[in-house]
Symmetry: C2
């Protein structure tokens, strides 16, 4: 078969954070499939069909990509950030596992990208410079109780934490509960970073002591990073530097 699927990470927003590997795949593709705002980042050209689709239809989108590839199309499935981190790669392999056997012969490749937490961390210092967890705070596809359990264990293990999908219009309350849990469990003023639309013209980054963090500081374009107990803040202008040291004393 001549068709292929490349599940490509566009990085957080800026073109200079897109890898050459991804740029080459986009240049070779016949079709680009993805969530509307991500497909909007791809320049139209002759011979390229853009297939933007809405949120929450990841499996349909994955099946569409695999079907097109089985008919010989060269399909780039685009995600913001890295496709393997709370993005399209898992959905695509889920569709593959439960789909027609012929799909297993397709040429499928994941092309990594700069994921939001690492782009955000880079803009503020190195808050994820030691052991950390990445947690999706959306309870659309898992029970809220599991999210709370993971938060408590992450605090007990003194991991730094990065939260994806902290808050949306349809889920305004979860992040408030998560913040409250963290404020009680950590009991300190460790830094929280709210990083919105990193590397785009709409970028906004702020650092707040955990005690003062408010749910309204996050939305769906925000990644939230919470330091470990030993995370340091170096005060400065235009904003502080936050880093987690490489050493933990016994």
């Amino acid at each position: 078969m001549t068709g292929w699927v490349k599940i490509a990470g566009l990085g957080p927003g800026s073109d200079d954070l897109v890898t050459p590997q991804v740029s080459d795949a986009l240049a070779a593709a016949s079709d680009v499939i993805g969530y509307i705002p991500y497909v909007a980042r791809i320049a139209p050209r002759a011979g390229l069909t853009l297939h933007p689709s809405d949120n929450r239809v990841e499996l349909d989108r994955a099946r569409h990509a695999l079907s097109l590839a089985a008919r010989g199309h060269k399909v780039a499935v685009v995600s913001s950030g890295d496709p393997g981190v709370f993005a399209m790669a898992s959905a695509l392999f889920e569709a593959l596992e439960y789909g027609p056997a012929i799909w297993r012969d397709l040429d499928i490749e994941v092309l990594p990208g700069i994921t939001a937490m690492l782009a955000a961390a880079a803009r503020i210092g190195a808050p994820l410079g030691h052991d950390f967890c990445a947690i999706n705070l959306s309870d659309n596809l898992k029970p809220w109780a599991l999210i709370e359990k993971r938060l408590r264990l992450a605090v007990e293990g003194d991991f730094a934490m990065a939260f994806y999908n902290p808050r949306s219009k349809s889920r305004p309350e979860g992040f408030a509960r998560a913040l409250y849990l963290l404020q009680k469990a950590c009991g300190d003023a460790r830094p929280v970073i709210f990083a919105r639309a990193v590397s785009t013209p709409a970028e906004e980054i702020r650092v707040i002591p955990l005690n003062d963090a408010l749910p309204e500081m996050a939305d769906m374009r925000t990644v939230v990073i919470v330091g470990a107990s030993n995370t340091r803040v170096i005060e400065g202008a235009p904003r502080p530097i936050v880093y987690t040291p490489r050493s933990v004393l016994p």
Copy 2:
């Protein structure tokens, strides 16, 4: 001051995984500082001084970079992968915090890169497609007891896990203990991925059920990924696909 420090992530090895942002910084630099094998990836050119240094001298290297920048040099500090993940960014900010006050006026920027665990995950599917932890298994700078504690909590929380620096000649035993702990605590045949030198000509990737994983399968060039309890394996050639689903049933 005209000098600057850019702490740049070179990605896992392949040139097509280096972001344009990093390539531009390297083209503008007067000095490149880093661990010998990473500096060896930079092409020499007129006007560029390369400063390779040995392992375990991260703070010296950081101070060297800051001193040069304070004298007007344009310094790229290079790390493999992402500089904010178990790499040079934390060391640089530690040197900054405890160094001369004048260093705080320097123009310092972290340029993110494709970190090893995400490059490895992309090559095998999407094993980090849901909540996960990243843990440095080296006990050079933290007590081994803390590593074991974090492993136990990560298993209890059913996170997927990525391990950096699993095993070296000077620390052959830690990874054996970690594997034994995981085999006892998980009690199942979830997949373990050993990904060595990803995206280089020396790349080797294998997937092994946790019960069959052996310490000798890892070295310092290996990143190890352990699936969550619901991580799936799709058998196939030349190797299986491993992914962690987006959903967790209640």
